[in-house]
Every structure is written in C-alpha cells, then in structure tokens.
C-alpha cells in the first residue's frame, strides 16, 4: 500500500540579502500512529517520521521532533534569514531508520 515517501519543498529561487522568507515542506507518509487497530483488532504498529531537520551549507538551522499526533502527509513550514547563497538539505527521519532527503539551492542577490 505504501509508496516511497516523496518530499516536496518550496524555497524561493532568489532572495535579497537579509530577507526573512518562509520555507514550506510536505512529504507523503502515512504517519501510522500506533494507536489504530486493524479489522482483526490487532494494533497496527507505529511507523512515523519522527524528525525533520533543515540544514544550510551543512549547518543545522531548524529541527522539528514529530510525535504520532502529527497528521499524515506531514507539512512543516518555518523561516530562514538569507545571508549567502548556498544549498539547503532537508532530512526526514523515519522510525524504520530510513532517511528521506531533499536538496534545494538558494541564490542570494541584491
């Protein structure tokens, strides 16, 4: 049933130095809470993305620890202040140990 989670990230292509802009991220994932039961009454084991990390040029700038209370296909937005051009690395960490990664370039120009 489950397909490989695909991240979708929106980062502006070009920003001015000092500009504070919003980054929006979304990833397809069922975020199985571990609270639900299947038709036989057995608890469906938990399988969620428990951590989201945003790094810029290798330095972590924002982190979110997600609990099972986060909705399926989790959305996360946050802000970043432009200083220099570079690359974002967004990482989603799954309960099963896998990482889903998205890289997005940012150009800072006046």
């Amino acid at each position: 049933m489950s397909t490989k989670p695909t991240p979708r990230v929106r980062v502006p292509a070009q920003v001015k130095p000092g500009e504070i802009f919003e980054i929006k991220t979304l990833i397809s994932h069922e975020m199985e809470s571990g609270q639900r039961k299947d038709s036989a009454g057995k608890t469906i084991p938990r399988k969620i993305i428990n951590k989201f990390v945003a790094a810029f040029n290798g330095k972590t700038v924002f982190e979110a620890d997600w609990n099972p209370a986060i909705s399926a296909n989790p959305y996360q937005s946050f802000f970043y202040k432009a200083v220099e051009s570079g690359e974002f690395t967004f990482t989603w960490k799954d309960d099963d140990g896998s990482d889903y990664v998205s890289k997005n370039k940012l150009t800072v120009a006046a």
Binding site: H29, R36, K37, A69, A72, P74, F79
Partner: protein
C-alpha cells in the same frame, strides 16, 4: 484527495467513525493524556521552573471540523540574534492518547521563530505551548480547540 493514504472510502470511514463514537460512549474509556500528563512532560523538560505568559502567538482554529488535520502555527516574539533568540518550542495536547505533539529547535539563522504544521486531535481539548528563550526564560500559552470529528481510531 491524492494524499489520502488509508484505503477506505468516505462512506466506510463515516460508518466506522459513528461506530467508534458510539462504542466510546459505552466501552470503558480509552486512555487519554490529561492536564497532569502534560504538566509531567513539562516538568521532565524544565523541572519546576516558573513560566511567564506573553510573547507566544499560538494560532489554532477555535473549531476543527476534522480532528485528523488541524493546522497549528506558533510564533514567538524575539529579535532572533545570537544574544537573544528562541531556543525551543514544545507543543502539547491534554486530550490525545499521548501528550506530545511537536518540539521545535530554532537557531538565530531562522530570523523569525515561527513554524506551522498539522496535527491530529482525538477530541475537544487544550493545546499547550511552551517556549524556551536563550536566556533560560520560559513562556507558556494555551488555547482550546473544539473538535467535531476526532482524529483517532477510525
């Protein structure tokens, strides 16, 4: 919707929801977190430290029709400089099976201590938000969300 990953039809989902709703009235209570559980979580993080009000803008809908997807936005007033910034923000709920919702770690590079996500709420309950500043001060905010259809079970 393309994002729907659970393979049930709307009709089945509604039927299940009504069964679960009815069962919830009869069956012994499902275990939910409560105010004490949230207080215990906060104590685990920060001990008995005093919290102040203000500085936090906790934006949640007053009424959530669908408890499966409830938008939650937190914004903390701060200059976000190396000397004075918001270190962490924790969001809890006092009526879900587990009290924790999300914990954020901010850095001065963020420019603004604001983040949005979407959460599941099992029933009408309070959302409690606690922000830790770089100088160690704690701020707290609380909001009530009325949930029409709970986001748990069915």
């Amino acid at each position: 919707m393309v994002w729907n990953s659970v393979e049930t039809t709307r009709r089945e989902a509604l039927a299940l929801a009504s069964i679960f709703g009815f069962a919830a009235l009869l069956a012994p209570k499902m275990s939910f977190a409560d105010e004490q559980a949230v207080a215990a979580e906060i104590k685990k993080l920060y001990g008995d430290k005093k919290t102040e009000s203000g500085k936090i803008k906790l934006d949640v809908p007053e009424i959530a029709e669908n408890g499966l997807v409830v938008p939650v936005n937190v914004e903390v007033e701060s200059p976000m400089t190396e000397a004075d910034y918001v270190k962490a923000v924790h969001v809890f709920a006092d009526g879900n099976p587990l009290p924790g919702i999300v914990s954020y770690k901010f850095t001065p590079a963020c420019g603004k201590a604001s983040a949005s996500t979407r959460m599941r709420l099992a029933q009408t309950q309070n959302i409690i938000c606690i922000a830790e500043m770089s100088n160690g001060n704690l701020h707290m905010a609380k909001a009530n969300v009325k949930v029409t259809i709970g986001g748990c079970g069915g």
